[in-house]
């Protein structure tokens, strides 16, 4: 592979990793706080993308479409938490997986009904619909914008988690729910907020990613499988760990597709297996 091509592939990998981060940040936070794995998270991503697509068609405003995608995700997250997940907290733990799996089936068929099976493509907004020249090769500006957005979200989340009272509340909940409740923290409210925030990021990511991933039925499952791999490999607990793992997975997926096209989807899961053998709590997880 020539150097310019290699560089653009690496950038592609980073951009994809950033999209994964938008998805996995919420997933790993929910896992840490509530001990649930939300398999419907990929569906928020896909539905967010579709809602953004429809909004873009109706209003012709890309920013409004992004907001609509995020809002759709947050709304779905709110519904999931409030009306479904609340009933299964504290049970064995597999109920939540089965419930969210069922929800994702429903959301996927609902999307099939509303947006049909035709794959949709979204054009990047006009002010980003151009390309830079990198070492003589053109590179689309939109992918660089995704990298920038991912970075901004990471910094924002980091600031939120480490520097604000809300973040401290969430961290308290992750560490010790009973103690946090004892200190007067409204844990059910924190759960709902975290769910909405995670789902917002997923829906937001779904539309932001639409110009490069496209929108099609089955996207939900493709992304959730990668995000699950991220959560296992990275372990729960640190936002930085989540970002690093996302970039690793994004890079290995993209480079894998270029270097060994037929083994691409295998590479990530081999990494998962190896990490679990060597360090079952994940690369950045705390040993519990």
């Amino acid at each position: 592979m020539e150097l310019p091509v290699a560089i653009s592939q690496v950038l592609n990998g980073i951009a994809f990793g950033m999209l994964l981060f938008l998805l996995a940040a919420g997933l790993s936070l929910m896992f840490g706080l509530m001990g649930i794995v939300n398999l419907a998270h990929g569906a928020y991503f896909m539905v967010g993308g579709y809602v953004g697509f429809t909004t873009l068609e109706a209003t012709d405003s890309f920013l409004l479409a992004i907001a609509a995608g995020g809002a759709a995700g947050a709304f779905l997250g709110f519904l999931t938490e409030r009306f479904f997940m609340r009933r299964v907290y504290g049970l064995h733990g597999h109920e939540s997986i089965l419930l969210t799996f069922a929800l994702s089936l429903v959301l996927s068929d609902l999307s099939l009904f509303l947006w049909t099976g035709t794959p949709r493509w979204v054009q990047p907004p006009s002010f980003l619909d151009m390309s830079f020249t990198l070492l003589g090769n053109p590179y689309p500006a939109y992918r660089l914008a995704i990298i920038a957005i991912g970075t901004i979200v990471f910094v924002g989340l980091y600031w939120f988690q480490e520097r604000t009272l809300w973040g401290a509340t969430v961290r308290a909940g992750v560490d010790d729910k009973e103690m946090a409740t004892g200190l007067g923290i409204n844990i059910p409210l924190v759960f709902t907020m975290v769910f909405c925030l995670g789902a917002f990021l997923a829906g937001f990511g779904g539309f932001v990613g639409a110009p490069i991933l496209g929108l099609h039925i089955g996207l939900d499952i493709e992304v959730i499988m990668l995000a699950l791999a991220v959560v296992i490999v990275g372990g729960i607990g640190s936002l930085t760990g989540c970002l690093v793992t996302c970039l690793l997975v994004g890079l290995s997926d993209t480079l894998g597709k270029v270097l060994w096209p037929s083994y691409a989807s295998l590479t990530i899961y081999l990494v998962v297996v190896i990490v679990l053998l060597v360090k079952p709590e994940g690369l950045f997880g705390k040993r519990s």
């Binding site: 896992f31 001990g35 649930i36 794995v37 479904f84 009933r87 299964v88 064995h92 733990g93 597999h94 109920e95 997986i97 089965l98 419930l99 799996f101 069922a102 929800l103 994702s104 089936l105 429903v106 996927s108 068929d109 609902l110 099939l112 009904f113 499988m225 699950l228 791999a229 959560v231 296992i232 037929s262 083994y263 989807s265 295998l266 899961y269 081999l270 998962v272 297996v273 679990l276 053998l277 079952p280």
Partner: protein, 324 residues
């Protein structure tokens, strides 16, 4: 006393059940086909039930064993032209035991939700391996077709739908009987103990890892048996047999039927297959409807059909339902 009375009462029910199963071939052909698939699925769901219902391990990787059973049969009969059913069964058994011994040893290093995700990841790895590196043998997405029905020896052929149905019933009877023996044995009781409180079982001196490991392999063997039957039944095997969505379906059928109950898998397979057969002629949104049913089961009928029937029977017999 009460138990003995219950035994006597259950004899007519059992007789009626056996008669119903044996009389299915009097129905039209499509019903025989449907019944065959239901029985095969119930074997598959029983394998998940042994693992989840009795051992407390939720696996999202059962399709790996179902699919490998199916693919071994498909490859041996169509590519290697092996016709001896017993040889094929032996090779299936060895394959599934080796696979489960390998993946079980790895997956059981982690617990609870991680176990579920890890079995899912393993299932996906096996799916990918079957799809790409082994594409020459498995024909990738095209799948393998033209699998002939097995010849049992003693000039017994299973080429017709009815004879194959009886063959499946026989294998299912062996599986269910074996399952009954396992769960009523000290080993089975230890599994339930591990499901309910693993630490206590450890304190009692049980090597819980070994118990879970054996349970995992047993369940893989049952799933592989079901998959092998399915390959013969369908005459065609494709990658969806290995796909994790099919593992998810096992869990669905199990939860619909009733987790940790002996006949739950049969009820679950019956309800699932019947509903799918009936609904698919009306709508293409089968998955969504399946999802809605499943949400209702998880939220409102956690005991599934078996739990519901059990409650109903207790209520009808005038017994107290308190304390349940």
């Amino acid at each position: 006393m009460e138990k003995a009375a219950y035994r006597w009462k259950s004899i007519p029910v059992a007789m009626a059940g056996i008669a119903a199963v044996l009389m299915v071939p009097l129905l039209p052909d499509y019903a025989v086909t449907l019944a065959t698939s239901i029985i095969i699925y119930s074997i598959y769901v029983t394998s998940a039930n042994l693992l989840t219902g009795y051992t407390g391990l939720v696996s999202l990787g059962q399709a790996m064993f179902w699919g490998s059973g199916a693919y071994v049969v498909a490859i041996l009969t169509t590519r290697a032209h092996v016709t001896n059913l017993y040889l094929i069964a032996l090779i299936c058994l060895v394959t599934v035991v080796l696979l489960s011994a390998f993946f079980g040893a790895l997956a059981l290093r982690v617990k609870r939700l991680y176990f579920m995700i890890v079995t899912f990841a393993f299932g996906h790895v096996v799916w990918c391996i079957a799809m790409y590196p082994m594409q020459r043998i498995t024909f990738g997405y095209d799948g393998i077709k033209d699998i002939a029905r097995p010849y049992l020896g003693f000039s017994l052929s299973t080429a017709s739908g009815v004879s194959f149905y009886y063959f499946v019933v026989m294998v299912a009877a062996i599986c269910f009987f074996g399952m009954r023996l396992v769960i009523n044995s000290p080993f089975g009781h230890a599994l339930v103990g591990i499901r309910d409180n693993e630490h206590r079982m450890m304190a009692l001196g049980y090597n819980t890892y070994l118990y879970k490991y054996i349970s995992y392999m047993l369940s893989a063997v049952i799933a592989g048996t079901a998959g092998a039957l399915f390959a013969y039944f369908n005459g065609y095997v494709n990658p969806s047999e290995l796909h994790w969505l099919w593992s998810g379906d096992a869990l669905m059928m199990m939860f619909i039927g009733g987790v940790g109950t002996f006949w739950g898998p049969l009820w679950g397979a019956l309800a699932y297959t019947g509903l799918r057969y009936w609904l698919s002629s009306y709508t293409m949104y089968w998955f969504g409807i399946e999802g809605i049913i499943f949400i209702c089961v998880v939220l409102f009928f956690r005991g599934g059909i078996a739990g519901f029937v059990g409650n109903l029977r207790r209520r009808l017999s005038g017994g107290s339902t308190e304390g349940r």
